[in-house]
Amino acid sequence: MTARRLPQGGEIDRSRPLSFTFDGRPVQGFHGDTLASALLASGERILGRSFKYRRPRGLWGAGTEEPNVYADVTDGSRFRPNLRVTLEPARDGLALRSANTSPSARADRTGFLDLFARFLPSAFYYKTFFRPNWHFYEPAIRRMAGLGRINTAAHPAPDGDQLNHHCDAVVVGAGPVGIVAALALARAGESVVLADDGSRIGGSLLFRAARIDGQAGADWLAGAEAELARLGVTVLPRTTAFGVYDHGVIALNQRRDDGPDRLWRVRPRRIVLAAGAIERPLPFDANDLPGVMSAQAALSYLRRQAVLPGQRIVIATNNSSTDEVAAAMAAAGAGVTVIDARKGQQVARALGRREVTGVVLEDGTRIGCDCVLVSGGFAATIHLHAQAKGRLHWDDRRLSFVPEAPLPGLVTVGAAAGHFSLAEAFAALPAALGLAGAPVAETAPYDVTPVWPRPEQKGRVWIDLQHDVTAKDVELAARENMVSVEHLKRYTTLGMATDQGKTSNLAGLALMGQLTGRSIPEVGTTTYRPPFAPVPYTSLAGLRGGPRMNPVRRLACDGRHRAEGACFGDYGGWLRPAHYGTDESAILAEAKMARASVGLFDASPLGKIEVIGPDAATFLDFIHYNTVSTLKPGHCRYGFILAESGVVYDDGVLVRLDDHRFVVSCSSAHVAGVHGLLEEWRQDRFPAARIAIHDATAETATLTVSGPKARETLAAAGINADLSDAAFPHMTVRWHGHGEGALRLTRVSFTGDRSYEVSVRQDLAPALWDRLVAAARDQGGGPIGIEALMILRAEKGFIVIGKDTDGMTRPMDLGVSGPLAAKKVDFLGRRSLHTQEAQRADRNQLVGLVPADGLGPLPVGAHGIDLSAATPRSIGYVTSSHPGAAVGHPIALGLIERGATRHGQEITLHHLGKRRRATICPPCFLDPKGERLHA
């Protein structure tokens, strides 16, 4: 309990106290606190447990780089996991739960894991958890690993909010350099967005002393803020620019108190990257103890929220930036000892078990302390430059990767370009941005000396705090030849997880360089990818969720089906009646009714793509497996469309209305695909003026009347065309009526019974439905759903593409080999049917299957197995299975190896550990001669 709040100073409002809970214990703070600063001021040191070894951890940073402390935050009914406490403003009434802890950060049950650390090196689990297999261990490991835990009892996250925005420039980072850049561009008349992930703009000016153009930093900032507002610059605090994407899109995530995060998708002409730099740790034994923290972060907590992190402070540094930190801590009343590597002094080891109690220097000197402030130098925040495929240059003087050169449309300035002193950063601005001048700052120059982890360094030198990677792990990776930087990352998990190695990457690279005799630039960096910082999925998803992802399509007769008590299902994006009534037993009853008298079925989603023009027949000859041009006007023909691979892509009935006009009727779920395929080949191979294609599916409703009483039903419904078999035979088309209300009658059958498809303009369908359903009821029939139709078609052996066929099925496998032998002209997929593969004798072929064991319907997906070899081998599988409606036993269709030659044979089926027996038969269980079609 050594950190304390100072009685005055900072940007907090002491007249507005607040309180929230952390692992159930109350924490007091003030308006102006972040969650982190309030936790620090409360004296709470252990705020999280490390990812792997469950070591106690405290705050390291004060910004987006924080690797240790995350919390799941409940705010009334709102729940957000894995928030970085350093970026979230403290608010009254929040409930925080620390990450990686059970039950709390202070008393974690899994802390014993650290005792076994020597047995849990990098890649331990690759080498251990594969016997018997990973899934054996997975549940327990998954429970322990990961960061936050989703509160499933909380309300679902609200929909994300997204904005598209166009402007001249986006400036990333609103420190002094970003502000100067934004002002300069805005003064020149550009529209500018200025984004910063902090709670307010100002960057280092909020906690570091500076004099700009003779003014104190704070005064200069106040003036700059006023001018930004006057110039209309869009200033976005609490907004992280997390990704640069193709064609200059930059993505920003804005955190808001009054709603979900907002995603800004911005297309600027130019991106100015002024994202600053991140302070690195120093390598010494136990450098992860609570109380060891970034010197810049400590300065920020002191100056912004008036929190002094300790009373007896050791400052371990290798650079000049800590001079100000030491002076500020001393002025606030702390005892300060500076251990400066530039003067040959280094910390070898931190002492303490649950928090730091002292340090031992390399020369053996012991110093008691309650806080160690560390600065290992700065690393420029070049992530967005690197994401945009910008090359990096290693600056050996400043010890940081910096952009090699600006990119088209993306320029890096300030500390992000390696200018770690403000004077230097301002001086470089005019050249970078093409400005006439820039403010002048008076700051000390930056001076740094390298201190990297060393091979064989004693103790546990932590490199990656978030993923628990030590110097020894990097040495292990080198020993096992994981020397490439990408291998190093994957083997040790160095630089992974939510902080993406913001504090750890360079130390890892430097150590690997020493171990392999390479320089840091020779080791190189891993690929930078978005996001720079975690972004909630709600933000990325925006409104594209739930029913808005794929809006369901409704039938023209939707209301009629509801009135009939239909039970609906989603079939290929359409909401269709599965059956009528809530009870699934209706399915078989509907099928039997349709076989006995008549069934009325809403087939409206069936594809109806019109192909029109003088070359339509030639075109369709190319598209279809079957010959189309010989079809007479007024007639229909069933056929396949193949993919170029020779696999059956779709089937359906083709209607020729007249010489130049066809209707391609494709599977309901395939309409967009078939339409696209037709367009592609029309544009590729045929004259545009001689063929037109129009998808009339949505504008046309189709009601199918099927059953022995189908003709009587049509007549009773007032469709008094000549329906005699002589005037209107099977596989022909007729019109009834004229003009807008004309009905197109197509006599085709997907059931095996006499059937008529009646198509009409969709808005006229409900009235037609009323007439047909009344007439059907008079004949002892009624409406049937799609599930009953599935039984009817399976009994007849009619296939559903994609269900009774797979990605290997050629038309010959379905027993249709005529066109391949007889068709004169080329067609889609033809050459593929002549390949060795397509002609193999042992292909899976469509068959009927009847249970031979009296145990009821066969399970769909059951594999036929060949038991003649030592190990059973699949010989195909069941694709459809139903109880019989007109047939007195269960029926099934399947794709079975050499099936066409095996009719009458009995085979064994295997499904989920159970065996069944079935007899192979031709794929038609009902009326193979087709007499019912004319009954």
Binding site: H247, V249, S645, Q683, A688, R830
Partner: protein, 85 residues
């Protein structure tokens, strides 16, 4: 998100487009060798750098040719595929 330019509709965002394959992957005749057919069916250019491709602008339904750089992701304006009038 990339911006492609349909020769008929102008610049539009990437989700409006579907990839249509390599430009110039001509369909061989029905009597071609199995190798030529496999080349047509399965082999793709996948160049590093300049790619000549077919794209489909879904809202207008037109296929067009487009030159694209697979490294820089720069995309030239689409070109209409001069089909016969």
């Amino acid at each position: 998100m990339q911006i492609f330019s349909c020769p008929f509709c102008g610049p539009r965002p990437e989700p409006e487009f579907h990839f249509g394959g390599d430009l110039g992957n001509d369909r061989p005749g029905p009597d071609c060798t199995a190798e030529a057919w496999a080349e047509y069916l399965h082999f793709r250019n996948n160049p590093r750098g300049t790619a000549e491709e077919i794209w489909l602008h879904v809202p207008c339904g037109e296929l067009f040719a487009m030159r694209r750089d697979t490294v820089t992701m720069a995309a030239d304006p689409g070109r209409a595929l001069g089909g016969q009038p």
